[in-house]
Amino acid sequence: MLEVRNIFKTYDDKLLLKNISFTVAEGETICLLGASGSGKSTLLRIIAGLETPDSGLILFNGHDLTSTPPHLRDFGLVFQDYSLFPHLNVNDNVAFGLKMRRVGQSEISQRVTNLLNLVNLKGFGQRKITDLSGGEQQRVALARALAIRPRLLMFDEPLGALDRTLREGLLNELRSILHQTNIPAVYVTHDQEEAFAIADRILILHNGEIVRDGTPVDVWANPGSAYVARFLGLGNVFEGEVGARKKDNEWIVKSKYGDFTIRCNHKHARREKIPLLARPSAAEQEANSVRGVVTDVVFQQDRFKVTLNNGFYVYLNEAPKLGRKVSVRVKVECLA
């Protein structure tokens, strides 16, 4: 089990990571999701041992690895641009870590063959790296990282350089390989679809802090903050002012889109400013509704994205005419 404990890191006098702590259990895949500059890659490099934290510990199964050099950590690493050794062929790339460990020649060739089968590159061994496509190169990089039978796998935007269809296919393969091998993995990405598809748990990083930690379903249902809701593109995020209390856990809030009734288990004071989320899918049984004039309609496969003159957007099944006044029922959630 990997444990990251109270990591701090500054770079050029800028605080890059602030008190980062989390664990990765056996067989678990966690995703570090964040915008560029959030510190996610730095965190990965610290776990790999390529950079040292200012303070804090990296532990594996209780052993402190913080000052262990990277080549003694047994952590596999896969970069976005594959970083295959251009002077070696596919076989020698995959075998590199085994040669460093002085594994016998016959065992090396057997393990390399098995690994190339695992990543669907049977018979590619003698090929030159430069003759491979981007997807094939990434499979070689994965096989190379798996070859050393790592205690932990780390991915830094591994699919970022691939096109969309290839990315989906490779993502599925990767997930099944991770499940088969049961190796814990840390996966860094800025792409939320990728993160939600592969992760058992998602950690969202923002300005060097973990702002949300939960399963994909949980994070989606309860973003917990305006930043996370905006970052994940969950809907209209706006501010409301708490007005009268209707019931035990029901308040009236005022906002630029109108007055809404929200349900919230937290206590709120009158006139308190709270962040609100209105998901764009229309919900007929809700009491809240937003009114406005249609200014823009965009066709999106099975629905239309309709934008109103006040900036509010909602997905509808049928396209309304431009300039029409509409009223849409929506669910409004409190993000505090």
Binding site: A48, G49, L50, P69, P70, H71, L72, R73, D74, F75, G76, L77, F79, D81, S83, F85, P86, H87, F96, G97, K99, M100, R101, R144, A145, I148, M154
Partner: protein, 567 residues
Amino acid sequence: MAGKPNHKATETQRISNFSAPSVAPWLKRIFLWLPPLAFLTIAFFWPLARILTLTFNINTLSSENIQLAFRVLGFTFYQAALSTLLTLALGLPSAVLFARYEFHGKSFLRALTAVPFMLPTVVVAASFNSLLGQRGLLNNILHSSAFTVHPFVAILLAHIFYNTTILIRIVGTALSNLDPKLEQTARSLGADTFHVWWNVTLPLLRPAIFAACLLVFLFDFTSFGVILLLGGSRFATLEVEIYNQAARNLNLALAALLAIIQLVCTLIFSIFYTRLTARLVTPLTPRTAQNRRAKTLREKIFVTTFVLVLSVFFLLPLSSLPIRSLFRFEADRGQRGEVQYGFTTDYYKELFINRRDSVFYVPPIQATVNSLAYASATVIISLLLGFPAAFALARPTRLEKILDPLIMLPLGSSAVMLGLGFIISFGRWLTSPWLVPFAHTLIALPFVIRTLQPAITSIPQRLRQAASSLGASPREVWKSIDLPILRRATLAAATFAFTISLGEFGATLLLARPEYPTIPVAIERFLSQPGGLNYGQAMAMATILMMLTVISILIIEKFRLPNAGEF
């Protein structure tokens, strides 16, 4: 690339039709090419043909001559290979130092290591002589001849001094272009520092290291001034032996044979070099510098050691030359009794006096005047020939693709060989002082063209079209658009030609009349004469030449277009 030149060519046509409707474009190109090609034919190809006919002759190809040639060839290879290996030993860690680490005085140290490469060979030779020679600083300070450096060691040191910058540039560039993630991946796969170097970094640098070594080898192979001045004629490399046979034994045929052997060797090396550099791929996106300060103890020791070694190795010879020219350590010839040791300006004063027992018929300072006159003539001739060629090359057609390597050909032959060619072909005119600037022009012309051509290419056609559409006549267009842009490049090219002429040694030594010596020739004569006064004057002359060259280099650096005129 395929579409653009065509587009440009039609633009050129349109604009030239517009400005000078009477002259066809192809005719204009012929006119542009006529002067440089005529010059090359007379000054390069004709002498080359003479050397060849002299070589392939029954009398020349005697077993005795061939035996001598192979012995000399063997030594040339040996000293060049040894020099290259030693240069690699210093250059490779230095390349790592500059490509990977940040330290105080880095840009100064980088510039310092580049200075020798631009200095004339005589200055480098004189510098090492002033430090390690029998009358050098070290011997005089240590007050014993016990510390005498073998001439061969001095030659090797001077070669390292000269060429380390090539390794720093070529291998350093390759190293900083290397993706740091490759090494990081190797580490994560279990490779320790040594194995990362041995299994990843070094194999990836191999083409760059080979290319740099080959270039260094090429320079060491044809090295002349350093070997002649530091070693004397006992250390006969091909280049030195060509000079010996031509100037001392007056055996032009044997000199021609040696010259051809050398030319074949350098051509083979050049072809290898071109092949290798073609394989040096540069990434499309320049990587951000991975420089950082040394962190671990090992890194700190490495950085400190090599900064010290490089500083000492490059500063000592460069500073000992001017120091030695200002201090007297021994009695001059004929001086007895009270001799003033220590600081003196006598060596400089002596340069202005015409002594009867001196090695010249004129005051030695006349050599400086001659050098400046030759250099000025070289500038004028090479600009007159270089401009038309550069204009033609700036908008290349199929003709230029053939002619471009042709005009660079003199670069491939050595200076002594060019001088030998002149002697064989224009022996009659040897008394004329004009042979020297023409020989210098031959060497300077490729550099002049390579400096002018990018500047001319950089002038956008649209500017000219805009100017002419606003009513400017072709002459006014030239004056208001081309000239201001070309002024900088012209100055840089002129300074290039000037510097090359100032420092040229091999050809000049064969061609210069005794009464018209240049500075390098004067230094050679002073050094080959006995006595402290002659030695001191050599030091003074070399210091003057060093100062003139440094000023020229600074001017070139100021006016050169970025990215123009690399190796």
